[in-house]
Structures are given as structure tokens and as C-alpha cells.
Amino acid sequence: MKSILTLTAKDLRRRLASPAGLILSLTIPLAMGGMMLLAFGRMTGTGQRDVPQLRLVVVDQDESPISGIITGATQNPEAAERMHIERAASREEGERLLRDQDFAALLIIPKGFGEALLGSQQVELELVKNPAQRIMPVAAQQITEVMALYLSGAARLLGEDGLKIKQLFEGEGWQDTPALTSLVTVMRDRITSVSDLLFPPLIEVGTGGSESDEGSPGGFNFISWMYPGMIVMGLMFTGLDQMKDLLREREAGTLRRQLAAPVSARHVLIGKVLSVALVAAIAQIILVVIGSLVFRVSWGDPLALAAASGLIVLAVTGFAALLYSLVRTERQGDAFGGILTMVMAMLGGAFVPLQVMPEWLKSVSQLTVNHWCNEALRSLTSGGGWSEMAPYLGVLAGMGVVSTAAGVLLLHRRHMRGAL
């Protein structure tokens, strides 16, 4: 036991004396997390993800009072928060803006639009989408379709009286006061009849949970979802780097020297694996604290967090031990370890929610350490406790014990063959 502690203390001392490798292992996931946060997690104070501003170019070929109402509506203060609208004089100019200034879409109000609308004739709004963008053009299309729905409703509401309004816009009929009064009355009555249903719409969609609670159930908190995946990835890089030290020591001759000392090979290996676990535990603490202070992640019950963290460290240590029991050189370890970590991070749901995966990939995901580590932590960040976490902890404990034991045994067997 004493020799194991001596060996472990030696490795810890070395790692703390030269922490560059540990810092680098932590920097990768923090950098990725930071980038994802910058891109997706606008801090509205709740960690809720905000929708990016929609950039739209509008070409009004109609230039009628009706099209004027449309373009005016897109520039009211509330819409301006969500949309950036640019007017273009022509289709060509609009397409140029689309391409050169990364607008999501170009909306073209065709000539005769107002007339057709007032005459209850079918008319099309043309939407030209930016082919280099994936998401915002689709959002532009959806918003345009909503607008088309409202316009169709308005046309329906106006009915045959739309033609009379058209004449008024053309400057005719203003002198016929009784007709005008009758029209105004009819319009008022119709609008009144629908306004209590539609202005604003009686049906609202609530998104559940309190907006002021971070990580509250019922709402998708991007940071709380994303950060656990980054932590686990960081721990895996850390564990692998620390375990690689076994091969570095072989190269430097210190492993041979230790094996020539009056300590058993098993103790040397256990000491090394224990140092991996301790360094991973240090990394875990650092990442959890950074999560709380910088990313404002709420971890829930500290005891539950400690239990989850301990088993995650065990699972990650086991993965590192098993990998390095199978590779022969540092380069192999770097190559396989790196790609395995990234692939398992992806499959485990670090970058993409499990819900969007095809069924077969969801099954594959359950074979990864990352899946169980991520779910254990996410059950905490989404407000769960011991009962939510328990199934994940059980699997992690099993994975950790089996892989650690297998790793040590395989390494010992390799030593017995003289191939360590």
C-alpha cells in the first residue's frame, strides 16, 4: 500500500510541477464550450437560448398603399428587435445584398399585389432564399407564410368591399359620403367581430416554467445542456494524457527502474491508474467550478454531484487504462485516444441531442461512456436528484470497475510477457 501511495504521490507531484498538459486537456473542451456559448447561448440572464436576428431584404415592386402597410409593419419596434430589414430598389440589387451581405432571404412584393389582394384574387409573394444558409432562410419562409396567412385573412374579411377600398386608394369615391360612411361602418363592424378573436389572438402558447429560473424544468437551457458534455470530454482528454505517462516512463527508462525496485509490477500499475484518477478528479473540480462561476450552471445537490463526479472519474480512468493496455506507442495512444474521445463525445450526445439521432445511433450511444456521464450530469443540471441519477450511476460504476480492472490486468499480463 505504501509503495502505491509513493508511486501515486510521485506522479501527482510531477503533474503539478508541470501542469501544461493538464491545462491543455482542459482548454480544449472549454474552448469548444466557449465557442458554442458565443454562437448559441446568448445570455439573457437565464441561459435560455435566444433566436438569432433575421436579416431580410425587401423589394416592393408594387409600391401600393397595401405593400406600404406590409413594409411598414416589418419595421415596427417589436419586429425590429427580431428582424433587420433592408429595402432594395430592384430584384438585382436585392440578390446582390443577399449574396454579399449574408441576408437570409429576399422578399419580393410583385407589381399588382395590392390590387389583387383587394380584389380577392390569388397572388404570390416571392421569397428567394440564400442557398449558403441552412436555418435562417427557413425561418424567413415561415414568417412570410404567417404574414401571408394574415393577409389572406384580411382579404377574406374585406370580401367584395375590397374593391371599394381599392377605388378609394385610387382617389375615387371620396366625395360619396354616404357610401364612404357605410363602408367605414361595415369595415368597423367586421374588424370588431374578429378583433376579440384575433387582435391579439385569443390562443397563446406558453412555454412552461419560470423565465427567471436557470436550468428550470420544462424549458431548454442551452448552457446546462451543453456544459456536461464538455466536462466529460475534458476529463477524457485529461485521463488519456495522464495514462500516456506510462509509455513516456517506458521511453525514459524510469518504468524499468521502478520494476527493478522491490515493488511489484501490479503496484506500479495500480499507482499509475490511481494517479490518473486523482488528476481527473482535480480536473473535474476545476471544470465544475468554472461551470458555476463562468457559465452559471446550477449543479443541484452537492452530495449528488460529488457521487456523480466520483463515478465519472472512475469510468474515465477505466477507459484510459483500457485504451493504453491495448496500444503500443504514444502515437497510437494519441491517435486512437483522440478520435475515440471525439466520436464518443458526439455519439454520447455532447454536440447533438439524443432526440435527433436515428434509433440505431441512440442504441450505439448507450455503449459509450460519455452517454452515461452526460446523462448523469444533465439530470442534475435539469433539477433532478438522486432518483433521476441512480440508473446512470449504476451503469457508470459497473463500467468504471470493469474497465479499470481489465486495463490493469491486461497491462500486467503484458509486463509478464516482457512487452510492457
Partner: protein, 375 residues
Amino acid sequence: MRLGSLPLVLSIARQDLRLTLRDRSSIFWVFIAPFIWVFLFGTLTRPSDPTKTRIGLTVLQQETTPMAERLVEGLRAENFDVKTIPPGGSVPTGDEAPARTLTIPAGFQESIAQRRKVQLDLREGKNANPEGTFAVQVALHKASVRLLADEALGGFSPGDDTVRVRASYAGNARIVPSGYYQTIPGNLVMFVLIAAVTYGASQIATERKNGILRRLSAAPLRKSELIAGKLLGRVAVALVQVGVFLLIGLTIFRISWGTSPAGLVLLLAAYLLSAAAIGLLGGTLFASPDAASGVGIVVVLVMAAMGGCWWPAEVMPRWLQTAAYIFPTGWAMNGLHELLSWGGGLREVGLHCAVLALFALGAGALAAHRLKPVA
């Protein structure tokens, strides 16, 4: 450089290429790992257009009045894949929990009849695809507005719509960057840079450490020839890598690489040069190979994310989208979008090629200035 430079430069380049191709782990990282990544990401992110996909929605009906049923039909018409739970039922939890649940409350029809506000409760589970959130909210809004308009106007079905939307894509390519169209160009740009910066930089640091750089400097070789040879070696590796990407993209993932081979070749050549020069520069900044590749990978990841290799650039804040142009990855991705998505040609990517060449020149010059044969 002198007349006899070319054979010397080619010797160095050939040697570097040979060393890289003989190293099994670099083969793995340079050629195999990118495609595993592309396949996984591509599979996970397609299809991505919610208007073409049915989004799953579980509707908990606390009443089954005609109006509630009409709303459910309206949701189906908005392309939701609707599963209903009748009154008295409960929403599954745990692994069976749906991504999104909408509750139609009891008293729904009566509230509308009485002209009272009614709220539908939408809950998203922790694994709900965030990309679908906005689409879901818009579609719910449309369905509920149509229902209310139908009620107000005495009938308002989609067939009654006066105004329709005709949507199309600009440009000549007619291809949407979803799924593999997003991941393959993005991963090409990222993995070429990873190979150049990690292996390229660490190779320089290793050669400095084991004395090879000193030996090369003592040979009848000018510094410019050495730099050119090292650059060309990295470009050669990257060329092989890009060639494999293009081939696999065409044959296995069946994407089209645009209509301008000249534009594609020029853009990629300029990018490869800039990546090689950055890799060389990285090798001059760090004494240890581990530090060179470790720091290098972090820098590459940041450049890849900022440049739009991982996700569509348009979802980032505007300032970040602009900041992407600080990096060669931003220019490369934008150029590839010009070619692949817009169907552009040489003229459209001319500026991109020039800027990337400037990156190459700047990084290369700095690397030449900093390169020391001993630590």
C-alpha cells in the same frame, strides 16, 4: 531562390510527405478520422429543413371538443407528426418522454366561445432539438390563428388563402447546405488545418529537438529553400487529403463540388498554402512537439468554429460572423459556399483566393523569420 533550388525544395518536400505517409497514426488522423466525423455529423444533421420534416409533437388533450379536434387537425396540416393523449391520460416520462408536449386545457372551446384568453402549454424536453423550437412556435401560431380565423370568418381553410408564398433558392447550384453538404466542406477545411497545424508544427519541433533541423541548416541549403521545401511537404500531404475528401464526397456521400473546377482548385490551393504556412509558424513558436500540437489543436478548433465549419454561420451573432473573416477558415468556408451553394466560379472566389494567399505569405514570412535550427 536560385536555379538549382527546385530539386532541393522537392527533396525536402518529398521526404516530409514520405515521413507523414509512413506514420500510421498520422494516416489515421489525416485520412480516416475525418470521414468518421463527417459521416456521424452528416447523419445527425440531416434532414435539417423543418418545412420538409415532420416534427414530433405529443398533444395532451384535456378535452375532446370539436374545436380541440380542429386544432389537432390544423397541427397535422402544419406538418407536425401528432400523437394525441386523450383526457385522463398522462405524458410518458423518463426515456419515453416526448421531445415536445402541447397541452390543450379543459375548457378550451368554451373559453374561445366566451372570448376569453386561453393558453396552450408547450413543454420541451431536455433532448428536444433546439433548431426546431422556432419552427414549432411559428407553426403553432399559424395553426391557432387559422383556427380562430376559421371561427371568426365562418370557414377559412388553406384552400381559401388569397396570398401564397413561392419560395426558391438564389444562385445556380440549387443545393441547400444541410447534412453532408454542411459537414463535408466544413470538415475538409477543419481537418486540413488540423493535419497542417498538429502534424506540421510538431514535426518541425521534433526535428529541432532531435537535431535534424540543425543538420538541414548545415547542408548547402538556403533558408528560403528549406522553408519552401517544408511548406511544399505540408501542401503535398494536404493535397492527398483533399483529393481523398473530394473523391469520397463525390462517390460515397454523393455531393456535387460545384460547377467551376478551376475555382475549386484555386480556392483549395490557396487555402492549403495558408494552412501549411500556419502549421510551419506553429512549429517555430514552441520548443516541444507536444506543446506545438496541443496548442495547435485548440487554435484550430477556435478557427474552425468561428469560420463556420461546425454550424451555419448565420446563427451566430452578427459581430461573430464578421469576426470569422479574421481567420483563413472563414474565407475558405465562404468561398466554398460561393462555389457549392451559389454555383459561382473563379470570379466569385477571386478575392477569397487573394486573401488566403496573403495569409500564406504572412504566416510563411513570419515562420521564416522565426525558424531556428536549435532551441
